[in-house]
Symmetry: C2
């Protein structure tokens, strides 16, 4: 007899869902400068601002413990949390960790997880300042919350891109996506084999990009050292197509990116071909690259190019022009987030 309306989450999509859930939230504190809608919330603390973000990963969806070493997983969750702070052009400082742990998880497994977390924390200069451990009926769940700080005028939002700005990325794309596909393939192939020996030769780079992504602090530091302030920035977690659209939506602009300028590693192309996947799809829509996508003013072109650390893949246009991928023969394809939804 239940007549309650029931809408599946898939009908809204993740962004639609978040929009719906957050639209009704009120604001009671003057210190809350920016709540939802960017990589992190922005909170006033005296002369500076605090950036705050949270990220959950669940077993079976975001990682598969049958091939994801716990130490790498610990490393990766810290990078993911910290990257959202870096993407606001802020200095990450503290993180907390909440763990949901099923009974099959041993203390030694958590030791390895923490070892990886501490390794990443040390490399990135952040402190793990506490957390919570609870039981979980089914599988491991990890939530990282991170805070960092910046001078108020130094914060870079998704909304700052302007017409003619250059669109930049910090490394090649699609490698993590192909690393995941390789791990999934070997798991499938070897599932009934005793003493399985997965074939990873020649594709180690892809595995590393998926299992142990690096936070590109060095690139952000190099930009700062050269006096180059991005006008907008985002952590590339959902794939170039989706994340570029986030910047364009927030900045009320369009974009043109050029297919032949999107860097794709040789291993990515090779494995993609072997597995009958279009490497361009991997690069545009793969996700989990954890590189930074950012924009800089046009007059920074030479300075940015001189760094040798960044690829310029296109430029910002007026909103009416849409978000366009230009193929080598000059054809323009509208990048609709929908069309590339996994």
């Amino acid at each position: 007899m239940k007549s309650t309306k029931s809408t599946e989450i898939a009908q809204l999509g993740e962004f639609g869902l978040i929009e719906r859930l957050t639209s009704r939230l009120g604001k009671r504190n003057e210190t809350t400068l920016v709540a939802s809608g960017d990589d992190a919330a922005v909170i006033e603390i005296g002369d500076e601002v605090l950036l705050m973000t949270t990220d959950m990963m669940t077993e079976g969806i975001d990682f598969d413990l049958s091939y994801f070493p716990l130490k790498h997983l610990g490393y990766k969750v810290i990078v993911r949390g910290v990257n959202d702070i870096l993407a606001m052009n802020a200095k990450p400082q503290q993180v907390t960790v909440a763990l949901g742990v099923s009974s099959k998880i041993s203390v030694e497994v958590l030791d390895a997880l923490y070892e990886g977390m501490e390794l990443a924390a040390a490399e990135l200069g952040v402190d793990i300042v506490g957390g919570d451990t609870t039981a979980s009926m089914n599988g491991l769940v990890i939530t990282i919350s991170a805070v960092g700080r910046a001078k108020r005028e130094e914060v870079v939002y998704r909304s700052g891109a302007r017409e003619h700005d250059l669109i930049c990325i910090t490394s090649n794309l699609g490698a993590a996506y192909m690393g995941l596909h390789l791990l999934e393939r070997e798991k499938r192939v070897l599932k009934d084999v005793d003493n399985p020996q997965p074939k990873f030769e020649g594709y180690e780079y892809l595995l590393e990009r998926y299992l142990k992504p690096r936070a590109r602090m060095n690139v952000l530091k190099a930009l700062a050292d050269e006096g180059i302030r991005p006008t907008s920035m985002i952590d590339l977690s959902d794939g170039l197509a989706s994340d570029l659209r986030q910047i364009c939506n927030a900045s009320k602009c369009g974009a043109r990116i050029y297919l032949e300028r999107i860097p794709i590693a040789r291993q990515t192309s090779e494995l993609a071909e072997e597995m009958h996947i279009d490497p361009v799809i991997a690069a545009l829509n793969g996700g989990e690259d954890h590189e930074f996508l950012f924009t800089v003013p046009l007059d920074m072109r030479e300075k940015v190019a001189a760094l040798g650390l960044v690829d310029i893949i296109g430029h910002i246009t007026r909103e009416e022009a849409g978000v366009i991928l230009v193929t080598p023969d000059g054809e323009g394809i509208a990048l609709k987030a929908q069309a590339f939804d996994r």
Copy 2:
């Protein structure tokens, strides 16, 4: 052929596990004043300090959706997150929410969850400033992370209790525990019944204490208005016995609490008798009371009593004296956390 050592988490217990995992964590930021070991981390922000905490709840362990209304659950998770900030004598300001959502959860269910979260946020004066939504293979998972702030000298730690201090609590104990038992009983009894009509008459207070605990901001405000600063404080989440031991461990002291002074609501005693549970066990060890346990200097006795909001249940002793429950006939029973472990 695996010879890797495997230790079950139960062998260490939650506190032992956290101790083991956090003992190896380094510190890289001068702004990290206190990491693990209290209700929240303490981070320097200019003249003030930031308090930061995180709390995870998982379906099937921390809540059962077959009888936990989503709106209440949303309310409760905010109270839990905020209480850890309040327990440091700080002003909670912002929270983030990370959700792991299984496919059986509808958008309307999340609407109700957010409605409850926003209700609690409005009452407690905090802003929900963002979050993360991910899929979950198995059940709903919610992590709340909260930040608040205080003047550095106003922060109250678990470690500040001193000999002769009075031990205080903000309301009666064990009610949430009995509320949970009532819900579980009715679920068991009615599991094969069509159109079940659970019997809750006379026990509504217990349900409310379990399903919708209130954060006792009013009591903390009254203390502050009277110039009463607690010397130590903790959120009563694991039960009086365990949480009092936390204060004693951190403060390197002992305690004597008096059985007849521990307030137990009439409904709690009645249902406990009906269900053949010792109401004292419910009060000492029930958990999820979400009241505050705190200590004040002896010379504050009259001021505290005059508030009419707080029960004084005992006093702090030297460490060698142990943590003792005194029965009405004067017998002293050592409160070992272990002995009351659920």
